[in-house]
Amino acid sequence: MDLWFGLITGVLFGVLLQRCEVIRYDRQLGALRLRDMTIVKFMLSTVVVGMIGVHLLLDLGLVKLSVKAAVLGGVIPGGLIFGLGWGLAGYCPGTAAGALGEGRLDALWAILGMLVGAGLYAEAYPALKAGLLTWGDYGKIALPQVLGLNHWPIIAVITLGALLLFRWFEKKGL
């Protein structure tokens, strides 16, 4: 059943990504060149709606959170290296699959590179686990605990920030 849920969710997400042109290299690079914010609008809209919905269900006791640990030695260099690669490939793991689906053959090269990158990481993992990944491990922390606040004021501030950003994007024609 899990597999069917995965497939159906993926298909629907793929349709949305494709129809909003989020999976295109030109759009991804457009955002990184700070001239076309299509993917940022999409991402932030997903985050705001998802954030409100998931926390409503959380308050009702209907869902669980699955927070990843904040290991600074992993997330900061890893995030930066990901970004450097993202700016070259113009695809991230999810959108590369979608781009291939709409006929972009260069996404296949990105996907092959990603498989090689995963293999290289598996080679490096024992050394990284004993070294870099032991640095700055703050555990599975989320903003409400860090700030000592209920989640709703934080969600309100992020939502307001996103709406102001959207207004600015539209004003600037980004």
Partner: protein, 173 residues
Amino acid sequence: MSIPPSRSRPWSPYLGGALAGLLVVLSVFVAGKYFGASTTFVRGAGFVESLLAPERVAAMPYFIKEAPKLDWQALFVVGILVGAALASQVSGTFRVQSVPDSFDRRFGGSALRRGAVAFLGGVLAMFGARLADGCPSGHGLSGTLQLSVSGFIALACFFIGGIITARMQYKGR
């Protein structure tokens, strides 16, 4: 083949993004699954390598941690491909293309050059995503919408790194 006569206009990214947000909520509610994509590439790499050297893969800690198997996320990634294929066919926006338009304008139409850059980018992106323990789906969407600290840090680092290589390639254009 010439340009198809009627191409559907793209949907609003605000609307599409909001619908994707509802999809996340539904997925968490129904299946207990948050979006993510990069672990699948580890399982994929482990699967390919296990065809060549099964004993070696069986002894590697990272492939033990993320064993090669078909799971929710693998089908989710396949689903994105299928969904994009269907949507592009129905809307008339499917287009076989080896070099994206903006890359072509900047670096020319060599499919080999574009393939090499895409491959190198893919290697770096996935190595980084695994070190960070997530990609723009796992950290950027799922992490931030749960207000997780790692999600916000990762997302900021993704964009900083991406803006750097985008500038290096397209500076002044």
